[in-house]
């Protein structure tokens, strides 16, 4: 099955590339034929359409704001129908592709289409307030220490918001870091996942090694043991000790108090905190059993 899937997938990818290039060739002559017109250069608040629009919308938050987004019809399509019969239903709202028509040189947006937000059918306006500050400001008294970008993210990612309140967490609520410290909301280019640990090690350099004696699952993927947003267990562990370790490890009777003194019983002392002895759990330059 695996070989067949590989062949099918490779063939599919080749077909896809062909389709893209075909599409490229075909569409050279119809650039700009869809959606709103693409301005040739940034425009300011005094753009041509603004006075007409502000005749009705002048009392709102759109008036007088210094912005590059002052030419209303550069982003909103359907203005003729809207002028004939003003309704929220007949004025086009910009999709991500409309924004990308101007924001062509932004490195952050190079891989937008392949990120989870684009694939989830979100557009720029779902996070950005185009007519005002780039992100909305927090109003909650409890969120004052948190950066406003994270507040915006957590407005949708409610499960993550809950995890960031658990006893063990990354200090996002305290403002110590933000969602964008680890995540690229505009679409990861995929190059930060060389070993899935690179993002973590960009802050946790202590654990990046190189170590002569590695703990292989650790260097392969931090998420084998840790959950990054928050955990009920200490040290952001997915499971508490010893359950986490015993998934892969057996206990030797002659070293972990099973076959020695005190009636060969399992000792809670040995089980409660494996890293109390194996403190070099992320790797060692000295010891093969990760004690030093």
């Amino acid at each position: 099955m695996s070989g067949r899937i590989r062949v099918v997938a490779a063939a599919g990818l080749v077909c896809l590339m062909t389709a893209v290039f075909w599409e490229a060739a075909e569409s050279m002559g119809r650039l700009g034929g869809e959606g709103p017109a693409v301005p040739s250069m940034p425009v300011y608040a005094a753009a041509a359409s603004a006075p007409v629009c502000l005749a009705c919308h002048g009392g709102s938050a759109y008036a007088g704001l210094p912005t590059f987004h002052g030419d209303c019809t550069a982003c909103h399509s359907g203005s003729d129908a809207h002028l004939a019969g003003p309704s929220i239903m007949n004025i086009g709202k910009p999709e991500a592709a409309d924004c990308l028509a101007c924001h062509t040189s932004s490195p952050a947006l190079m891989h937008w289409e392949f990120g989870p937000h684009a694939r989830g059918d979100l557009s720029c306006g779902d996070c950005h307030v185009v007519h005002g500050p780039p992100v909305q400001e927090s109003r909650s008294v409890a969120d004052r220490a948190m950066d406003p970008v994270s507040v915006s993210c957590l407005g949708c990612h409610q499960e993550v918001q809950a995890k960031l309140s658990l006893p063990s967490r990354h200090p996002v609520r305290e403002g110590g870091l933000a969602c964008v410290s680890c995540h690229d909301p505009h679409g990861s280019d995929g190059l930060t996942q060389v070993s899935r640990t690179e993002t973590c090690l960009s802050c946790h350099q202590t654990h990046r090694g190189p170590r002569a004696y590695e703990h292989a699952p650790v260097v392969e993927d931090c998420a084998n043991c840790h959950v990054p947003h928050g955990s009920a267990n200490r040290s952001l562990l997915e499971l508490p000790q010893p359950a986490l370790c015993l998934q892969c490890h057996s206990l030797a009777d002659n070293r972990h108090a099973l076959g020695a003194a005190a009636g060969a019983r399992v000792s809670g002392v040995a089980l409660r905190n494996c890293v109390a002895c194996h403190s070099a759990i992320h790797g060692s330059n000295v010891d093969g059993v990760l004690r030093y």
Binding site: K163, A261, L271
Partner: protein, 710 residues
């Protein structure tokens, strides 16, 4: 460069100040506010002033004079000042602080041609201090008087040589970026040069175990002196320089290149067995290290340099097609070596990583699009190997060595956009394969049959993704995936699995927002086994069944522009079951005689716990010059860390998960005449731990702020 940008984003993006709204401003004006705050805080219960409070873990505070139990914080200044010119925010200076131990700030200057950014952040946390509260001497059942002598006798006594210090670590970040914009580069693109420094200082609680022969005396006396802990200094810094060139010639395509050099250096003393035990009272049984043993390093951290190159390209074709690709290569070199490595002649520690991806998507016809992505990454351990007498599979070797790991990801997806309810339906196939080159010990080491770590993982998944807006204001999202593993290499691999994520939201014209979600992530793996003896060898299968479920709702209501209310609740449940095995000898003992080891299935283990998070809050403009705000947060954890024999053996603080955190926040803003505002605030936080009652404690915080807006 991403790190630097992200850091500046953390430090610098619009710090919100409730009650002071963004003014609509004209060119040439300066806007913003400055806030000065006086704060009083007071802790109750807990372990007292000499030890860490749980509430200090992520919110460590020292008042004037260094008082941590009851303290005053004066003149905590926040500000946000900006000047508008040329249709943009030309410069911006911001600072936000919660205490002397948690503050950050940034500055930015922006023109058509250049952007200059700088930022800093400072955060002191006490996670290690909380870990210390769980150290063996502080938990009933943390030591076991029933044990004496032999290889396990050290369970009887734990010698804490640390002096019960308050453990905390401060992280300081500094960063500067300069970006040349297209206007300066003939519209070709952007060039960004950045520098970032991250430093950490403080101390950590660090346990260790002396060898059986490291202490004099009879076996029982020696054993009781072996298990110890020391106070470890933290003093390390990482300096990172980066250059990023992004070109978009005539808008034809985007080309991107990034170069970064990241140097990490630890200045911490190289701790050894002799220097952590010197000056410590061992009584009649002083240390007696065998030759070379006294210089054994403890938790050595190597300094290192990481060099990374990244190139990428994206070509968009109108609004219907895009193709993108990239390649990255990084080399991590070890710069500092332990004395054991030096003595063995080990002088090359190097990790090479490569990554490549290629992706394309196209809207073939207006109602149908396809997308594909291929990714490849590899991690190669190119450190010196083997090293005789130090790291050699024929002698001193234990766990398998991961020489190289190659991972490929493939995803193909088709999306249908029916002309109804802004719907998109995607069906996709994804596959992830991991190949590992492993070296197993020949003499003393864990052979493959005794390890739950395999050379291949291959997991396929099929998924459905649905986004729909069936009615005005209604938003439905569903993702369902089924996983099937042909080969499993780690126990967390999905031999079989299911994901379901469903969310439904409704925004009413009245401003009421209702959202609900449900999610389940189910993973099973019984494809791995320990194989031992006696002959004929029998395989003892490990079996892991893991289910992670969550559900919740979010409501918000803004009855007018002067008031807003929110109510959130989230429940999450973790259920993980595995088998618990014991062996008669260690798995790396006598690797050449596989018949000598016997794996015994002791019992099936179950870990089950649930978390509940409830938050509610609101603010109201009670009068033209008065705004009131309130919020309450409750987080509760309930469950069992283990079941059966293991669960019965664990002390209560480790077996039970039973804690609750309450957080109440109240604020009142009074706007004076002109541009002055006075704010009073009160916070009450209370942590209750039924499994480890000594951790229970609370904190009151009172604040008074004066805000001057411009």
């Amino acid at each position: 460069m991403k790190r630097a940008i992200c850091f500046l984003a953390i430090a610098g993006l619009a710090f919100g100040l409730p009650g002071v709204t963004q003014a609509q401003v004209a060119d040439g004006t300066t806007t913003g506010w400055v806030t000065s705050t006086a704060t009083f805080f007071d802790y109750s219960k807990g372990f007292g002033a000499d030890l860490t409070q749980v509430l200090e873990k992520y919110d460590y505070r020292q008042g004037l004079g260094g008082d941590r139990r009851t303290g005053f914080l004066l003149d905590i200044t926040d500000l946000r000042l900006s000047r508008w010119a040329g249709g943009r925010q030309q410069w911006l200076v911001e600072r936000q602080s919660s205490s002397y131990d948690n503050h950050r700030g940034s500055a930015r200057f922006d023109t058509d041609g250049i952007r200059l950014s700088a930022g800093y952040g400072f955060l002191r946390t006490a996670a290690s201090g909380v870990n210390f509260l769980y150290s063996p001497n502080r938990v009933q059942g943390g030591t076991d008087p029933g044990y004496s002598g032999g290889t396990v006798g050290f369970f009887r006594t734990f010698s804490d040589d640390t002096g019960e210090t308050v453990y905390r670590v401060a992280r300081t970040r500094l960063g500067v970026d300069a970006t040349l914009k297209p206007a300066l580069l003939k519209d070709l693109g952007t060039l960004t040069v950045g520098y970032q420094r991250t430093s950490r200082s403080g101390n950590r609680f660090s346990p260790y175990v002396l060898g059986g022969g490291d202490v004099q005396g009879d076996a029982d006396a020696r054993a009781q002196l072996r298990w110890r802990a020391y106070d470890r200094e933290v003093d390390e810094a990482a300096d990172r320089g980066s250059v990023r060139l992004n070109l978009s010639p005539r808008g034809i395509l985007n080309l991107d290149y990034q170069l970064s050099v990241d140097r990490f250096e630890t200045k911490t003393l190289e701790y050894t067995l002799s220097n952590v035990t010197s000056g410590i009272g061992f009584g009649a049984n002083p240390p007696s290290f065998s030759a070379g043993r006294e210089t054994l390093p403890l938790n050595f951290i190597p300094s290192s340099t990481l060099l990374t190159h990244r190139v990428g390209a994206t070509k968009r074709v109108g609004r219907t097609a895009v193709i993108s690709g990239g390649y990255a290569k990084s080399v991590l070199d070890q710069d500092g070596f332990s004395n054991r490595e030096d003595a063995a002649g080990f002088d090359k520690g190097r990790i090479n990583t490569d990554a490549l991806f290629l992706a394309a998507s196209a809207r073939i016809v207006p109602r149908f699009g396809i997308e594909g992505r291929y990714g490849y990454s590899s991690r190669s351990n190119d450190s010196q190997f083997p090293v005789a007498g130090f790291y050699d599979p024929n002698s001193n070797f234990t766990a398998p060595r991961l020489d190289e790991m190659k991972r490929t990801n493939l995803r193909l997806e088709g999306t249908f956009y029916p002309n109804m309810a802004r719907t998109s339906v995607a069906l996709g196939l994804a596959r992830e394969s991991t190949d590992r080159d492993l070296t197993y010990g020949i003499g003393r080491g864990v052979p493959a049959q005794r390890s739950l770590y395999g050379e291949e993982s291959q997991v396929s998944s099929y998924y459905l993704r649905l986004a729909m807006r069936p009615l005005k204001g209604v938003n439905l999202r569903l993702r369902a995936a089924r996983y099937s593993g042909d080969k499993v290499g780690v126990i967390t691999d999905a031999e079989s699995g299911t994901d379901v994520n469903l969310s439904l939201g409704y925004t009413a014209p009245s401003g009421v927002v209702l959202n609900g979600f449900f999610g389940i992530r189910d993973r099973s793996n019984d494809g791995m086994a320990f194989t031992g003896g006696p002959e004929p060898a029998t395989a003892k299968a490990q079996k892991r069944d893991a289910a992670f479920k969550s559900a919740g709702f979010l409501t918000s209501y803004a009855p007018s522009e002067r008031a807003a209310l929110t109510l959130n609740y989230t429940w999450a449940q973790t259920d993980v079951g595995t088998n618990f095995f014991t062996t008669n000898i260690r798995r790396f003992d006598q690797a050449t005689n596989v018949t000598a080891i016997v794996f015994s299935l002791r019992e099936a283990q179950q870990t089950t716990f649930a978390t509940h998070t409830l938050s509610l809050g609101g603010d109201v403009q009670a009068a033209d010059n008065v705004t009131l705000g309130a919020s309450y947060l409750l987080t509760a954890v309930r469950g069992d860390a283990a079941s059966g024999t293991v669960g019965a053996a664990l002390p209560s603080p480790d077996q039970l998960l039973d804690n609750t955190l309450h957080g109440l926040a109240l604020s009142a803003d009074y706007r004076l005449q002109g541009s002055w505002l006075v704010r009073g605030s009160y916070y009450f936080d209370y942590y209750k731990d039924a499994a480890f009652s000594q951790l229970t404690g609370g904190r009151n915080t009172l604040g008074l702020s004066v805000v001057r807006s411009f």
